[in-house]
């Protein structure tokens, strides 16, 4: 099926996510869509799969313009999409998930569907148990389920939005094999990624997007420098980290274990020094967030002790940790941590630790003026959060961090940011180390982990299965560990 997108526009508020995009995908091709985070790839694909309705533009399928008012329309037209956001699966078993949205008579014929599922799985070498609860599947298995379902629904165009985030190297290899096979069979596959290597490895053609526009197209293979140049204009400088001397222990975990669920099997011990940066790697849901919550008192351990700067805070409330200058920024906080309707001053009021009954507006205004100046936020102290541009919202968020900080815990500090903003964020974070702040962060971006950490802890199904020295480890080593293989090089933590 040949597919053409003509002059697609889509805006969200002040953001032009898609600004006149034209794109052609040929039958039986693996077509890459490459671009930095925030380039507008997901938006374009959501328009193509009926999730968003474009402001203007045309979608032409096999020479005929089509109207997609809903995802159901898109599926009827043969367009199916695997979404980027962690796939949320229904609390049904695999078979019922497979059946969802399927055509046919009114009655559910589970038997027939099961054999259909089986034959599709056999064909692509997947191994899915129809009666297993879908929530127990790994991310890779969920993708497999999603793919066979879309095939069964008659998809001829398959969109995969950043499918390699959170899956192991093994699963990625298997996914790529499947996608190649599908393209052989005449399926058009659109592979969306911000990772150049993956697109170069897999695709026949590639379209590059930046800031809502198409900036180049190429037939692969092509020299990677050309793609980099298209993506970034000119080669970008990565924020480099300087070395700081490590100080006293800021976070000490001793034989910590939770009562149930993740991290309940093997006790964890860890010592993080002042100025140290520890990266947390692993597939989504391997225990990283439980771990971070243990470190800041949002979750209590069943056994073991947690100490901050030498003081035992085991079992204490999160607010005690805050008082000891520990701060936790969960995923999404950097993008969504601001509150609509509150002004910059009010945000600082929130961040401050003023215990009084009445509001001390004077000091809140003073602090916000100082910080606006210091972080170069373009806005006034009475500006509401949503009136700021994205970059300035980032600045505000970082400015809201307390001035004195012993330990900073973060999830995905730069997810969803373009490269410049990500650099800026890290510049701020790394500067904090000079005042002795320790940083522990979880990320799915292997480059980010290797670039900014001193060492990396790798989580796998609720345990730490390895620790790597970020200075010497390679992407491959890290990938293997994340996939669950204990490498010889990395020492396995107790």
């Amino acid at each position: 099926m040949s597919l053409e997108l003509r002059n697609i526009h889509k805006h969200f508020g002040a953001v032009r996510a898609n600004d006149g995009i034209t794109l052609t995908v040929e039958t039986g091709t693996l077509h890459g869509l490459l671009g930095e985070n925030g380039a507008g790839k997901s938006t374009l694909m959501k328009v193509l799969s009926g999730f968003h309705s474009a402001d203007s533009g045309e979608i032409v399928l096999d020479g005929r313009p089509i109207t997609l008012a809903s995802p159901a329309d898109a599926i009827a037209a043969g367009i199916g999409m695997l979404h980027q956001d962690p796939l949320v699966f229904l609390p049904f078993n695999v078979l019922d998930n497979f059946l969802l949205g399927s055509p046919g008579t009114r009655r559910l014929d589970r038997r027939a569907a099961a054999s259909e599922l089986q034959s599709l799985c056999d064909r692509y070498g997947f191994n899915l148990d129809p009666s297993a609860p879908a929530r127990l599947l790994t991310v890779g298995e969920r993708q497999q389920l999603e793919i066979v379902r879309l095939l069964w629904l008659g998809a001829r165009v398959l969109i995969l939005d950043e499918p390699t985030t959170g899956i192991s190297a093994d699963q990625r290899a298997k996914l790529f094999t499947t996608l190649r096979a599908l393209a052989e069979e005449g399926m058009s596959v659109i592979f969306v990624s911000h990772k150049l290597e993956e697109v170069a490895d897999l695709c026949r053609r590639v379209t590059v997007m930046t800031r809502g526009k198409v900036v180049g197209e190429a037939v692969l293979p092509t020299p990677p420098e050309r793609l980099v140049e298209m993506m970034f204009g000119q080669a970008v400088e990565i924020q480099e980290r300087d070395d700081v001397a490590l100080g006293a222990s800021h976070l000490t975990l001793e034989r910590v274990r939770t009562a149930d669920g993740l991290l309940s099997e093997e006790p964890i011990s860890l010592d993080v020094k002042a100025g140290e940066v520890v990266g947390i790697a692993g597939m989504e849901g391997s225990g990283q967030d439980t771990f971070l919550r243990l470190c800041c008192g949002m979750r209590n351990p069943k056994e073991g002790t947690v100490a901050i700067a030498g003081r035992d805070l085991t079992g204490k409330h999160y607010r005690e940790y805050l008082a000891s200058h520990v701060k936790y920024l969960p995923a999404g906080r950097l993008e969504e941590g601001l509150i609509e309707g509150l002004t910059i001053s009010e945000h600082f009021l929130l961040a401050g630790e003023d215990p009084g009954l009445l509001i001390d507006w004077g000091s809140a205004h003073r602090r916000s003026e100082e910080q606006i100046e210091h972080y170069g936020i373009k806005g006034r102290k009475s500006s509401t959060a949503e009136s700021l541009s994205g970059g300035n919202q980032q600045r505000l968020l970082l400015a809201m961090l307390p001035p004195e900080l012993t330990l900073l815990l973060m999830e995905h500090p730069t997810r969803g940011l373009d490269i410049e903003s990500a650099n800026w964020v890290w510049e701020q974070l790394l500067a904090r180390r000079h005042q002795g702040t320790s940083i522990v962060f979880a990320s799915a971006d292997l480059d980010e982990l290797l670039r900014y950490s001193d060492r990396i802890l790798v989580f796998f199904s609720g345990r730490i299965i390895g620790e790597l020295d970020a200075g010497t480890a390679t992407v491959d080593e890290l990938g293997l560990l994340i996939g669950g293989r204990r490498s010889a090089a990395g020492e396995v933590s107790s």
Binding site: P71, L87, F89, L90, F92, L100, G101, T105, R106
Partner: protein, 317 residues
């Protein structure tokens, strides 16, 4: 309490539980689609008055039932529009439906030159079978002595169970109530599914209301249904969102209502139990059930739809 009073109580409990089955099953279906409708009371009253009126005008019970269901469904559209299309607070919108419906039913019953209020119904539901097997001791009246709607209620509950768990539409419906975004990306039309099932809920509530005005107290009066709509909302929880369990929950409540009268007939000391304390029982039971069954994580195990009460908008993230 002697045997005949026990049988009488059970017999009456089945009758009193019947409208609650309709309303509860309707609300279960609505909530399974992720929409909380606190307008049950209003929809039942609108069904009660319109069903009564239709039978009063035409002498046909069938027409009365059909009109009540249509009226309930149409009336529920207000809530559907507010919660699905406008995505405003489902709680407030449901309450609005109840307030408006309560006023509307009373108003229509009293308005005009020849008001309905005080008029007996021209037709009422009568037992299907008299004599024969219905006279068998004990099981006769309990199993065979009821009017048609009692059996229809059982069929409705059974059919709803089958629909939810054995049909494609039922699967889509449950998916929409759990995870609208995932359901949508699987090609389910979320808005359509929600609209349709809010209306199914409205139709069943209307039917339940009509059972009061055409069977249980077949003379038009202000609010013939008491607090039935509110009780149905509590029963959804007791039935843990499973239609067939609604049968037992509804009969149990029917018995709790009826027992007040039974005690009166038993003489001292039974008749000294104050009826207002007994009238509290169903509501206390509902709260106890809430505490026991829905605290913390157990609510999920019970079957409460994950997206219940949460507005869904495709283009939001």
């Amino acid at each position: 309490m002697n045997d005949s009073q026990l049988i009488l109580t059970m017999f009456a409990a089945i009758g009193l539980g019947t409208p609650l089955i309709f309303a509860t099953v309707g609300e279960i279906i609505t909530e399974r689609a992720g929409i909380l409708n606190l307008g049950v009371q209003g929809m039942m009253l609108v069904g009660a008055v319109s069903g009564f009126w239709a039978t009063f005008e035409t002498g046909s019970l069938t027409l009365g039932v059909v009109v009540a269901m249509i009226a309930g469904a149409v009336f529920s559209l207000i809530h559907a529009f507010a919660s699905i299309t406008l995505r405003v607070s489902q709680i407030v919108s449901g309450l609005a439906l109840t307030i408006f419906g309560t006023g509307l039913a009373s108003f229509l019953g009293k308005a005009g030159s020849d008001p309905l209020v005080g008029e007996p119904s021209r037709e009422t539901f009568e037992p299907l079978i008299t004599g024969g097997i219905a006279d068998w001791p004990v099981v006769g009246p309990l199993l065979f002595g009821h009017d048609l709607m009692v059996y229809v209620a059982l069929v409705v509950a059974g059919a709803a169970s089958y629909y939810l768990f054995r049909t494609r539409m039922g699967l889509s419906l449950r998916a929409v109530g759990e995870e609208p975004a995932s359901a949508e990306s699987a090609g389910v039309n979320v808005a359509w599914v929600r609209y349709a099932h809010v209306m199914v809920g409205g139709a069943l509530a209307g039917l339940g209301g009509a059972y009061y005005s055409l069977a249980l107290s077949p003379t038009w009066q202000d609010n013939p249904i008491g607090e039935a709509g509110w009780i149905a909302i509590a029963l959804v929880i007791l039935a843990s969102w499973r239609p067939w369990r609604a049968i037992f929950a509804a009969y149990l409540f029917g018995a709790a209502v009826r027992i007040q009268f039974t005690l009166q007939t038993l003489g001292s000391p039974w008749s000294d139990v104050p009826s207002s304390l007994l009238a509290m029982l169903p509501f206390i039971l509902a709260i106890v059930a809430m505490l026991a069954l829905t605290s913390g994580k157990r609510a999920r195990l019970l079957g409460a739809p994950a997206a219940l009460g949460v507005p869904y908008f495709r283009e939001e993230r």
